[in-house]
Symmetry: C2
Amino acid sequence: MDQIDYAGRLRRVQTVLGERASLGQPRIFLVTDPVSIRWTTGFGGSSAWLVIADSFAAFGTDGRYLERVEAEFALSGLDEFLEVCGASTRAEMDDQMFARLGGSGHDLAVGCSAAQVTHSRWSEIASKVCLVDEVDPVIHLRRRKDPAEIQRIERAASIADQALAETLGLLTTAVLPTEMEFRTEIEYRMRQLGADGPSYDTIVACGPDHAARPHHEATRRQMKVGETLVIDVGALVDGYHSDMTRSFVLGEPTQHQRDLYDFLAEVQAAGLAVAGPGVMACEVDAACRKMVTEHGLADWYLHSTGHGVGLVIHENPFSAPRSSDELEVGDVVTVEPGLYRAGFGGLRIEDLLLITEHGHRILTHTSKDSPCLPSPPTI
Amino acid sequence: MDQIDYAGRLRRVQTVLGERASLGQPRIFLVTDPVSIRWTTGFGGSSAWLVIADSFAAFGTDGRYLERVEAEFALSGLDEFLEVCGASTRAEMDDQMFARLGGSGHDLAVGCSAAQVTHSRWSEIASKVCLVDEVDPVIHLRRRKDPAEIQRIERAASIADQALAETLGLLTTAVLPTEMEFRTEIEYRMRQLGADGPSYDTIVACGPDHAARPHHEATRRQMKVGETLVIDVGALVDGYHSDMTRSFVLGEPTQHQRDLYDFLAEVQAAGLAVAGPGVMACEVDAACRKMVTEHGLADWYLHSTGHGVGLVIHENPFSAPRSSDELEVGDVVTVEPGLYRAGFGGLRIEDLLLITEHGHRILTHTSKDSPCLPSPPTI
């Protein structure tokens, strides 16, 4: 896979800060979101700070990570542009941070996102410098995926496709698995296929109650013939996530199950038909929600229709009724309408797509033609 | 396993709030830490608020979780003591929350932990009620483990012991695995043995560079005979974590490797010897750190010596030099000194222990007698 150009990313953040400075906003930004730190530097640990100004940048971490960070930054060439500070305690880390912020004092304006830092941490830092609530410049930069990122997401999606194909056989055996057993096998298979892990806890939700819960956690309950089954699975490749859901009926579906599945497939197709550059993300939601409401199933529709995917599994843009996000070329988003009702169970169909100049390209390729799985043999 | 008494836990939080109210502190607390919400209610999802007063309690979540929550609270009997509010948007959830907080107004004092909420969320809520930074009452209550929790942690530790025993054979085969392959197999085995998953990303760190990093992430690098290998593994059972590290030398150790291992085993034993009720956690750290420093290895000692373990993998009490925590009966803590040096690699020995009335009981049982693994056969 192509290398990610971290030095280039850092320069892009600095360009944004230069532009902000010319508007009178702080020229220094304290990045506190671990995902933004990862996007800018590749550092995936849990304890770090990153100070970026239009003309310099510094990164601090504790002793557990220091040796690794120095090796990784040397490898990516980031060490030429980013000063690394190590410390053995939180207090030392803070001292280093304030030193790099340019000393302290309330005439020193530093940007920081109030949504990405605890109130107590904000108060501590604001007692030494003039902290200004500013949007994290990385959030917008990281939304549009570059070719190296699309490679990773596409590889993750392909691993999930293949792992699902190779695991579905468990659902046609005489003894059906429990939800957890199925999850264990598909996640193991994704790793064997080269994933760093699952993108999130694989959702395996089966039966009249569990499948009716959009975010069900897999249990030790055994699956039964005749039940609906929702499998929401993604792989993780080099920090990047994929996301896909397919739904099934174990054995021969009833007419009602089949009708609802076919209807949901049309709803999902309607959502996909809308998704493209320049479209408001809420329109994708509206396209699906309108059909479901007109079908009299409004109270079966429990969540919004999609979200962005990248270094985190849920990120901008969000296809929700009140979203003000506009889809852009380079966005990687889900379209995932679902129908849920206790007693019936649930169905969800979710694809992951890349917004392109001419519309979109679907990254998840598992068939969604039919909910049918061959019936398990009679014991 | 024994049921967890959630209704009893809620009453204990309410008792603390009653005591606070009599001291003039707010009688209402807004719990924002997901782990505290889980401890009090069993809810493990990502989107919820919990308002507790000395005489009532209310819980809010969004449509994705509502049906599951109602079923679970009915099962645990919590539904008798906790009002459940569902909402389909964040704004609706907020409206419900302010209604349950007792309307709004700046004469309504509500406690909330500033360390457990973002600055932007704090500012939003503080614009409607008088928010007071108070310690989350659950943090202290959840530190001392009850028998049902100890059962779960002990089961998790036992699963990790068994999975490690059954996976070590991979290290004596002619073709040694990569770090990731070993991680994949041990995590798969833990799940097959009944774990809900790994307690954290299993650390498999091998060789002169990787083993020198305390928090190394497993890579696709193949292990080599003669290298040090650090395996830090735990299982997750019903939300509860275990934590254990063992270190090895692949094949016959050199005298230097063996000497350092034997020394580290003495250091760890010295830490264990100190651990008991009424002891300051920093004394456990000091006992280990002193020996390492006297041995001239101070700069090989990169992290503090231990931490509490429960619903999160790192929680109070912390065995660090500046810790003011005192060990109490019911604490579950690690003792995990390590030695790290690029070029040499690393060694860490970590046990999980329960602090008891008479000292402690070790919950991790994998042998730590020797770093030796049988040499792989020559190909």
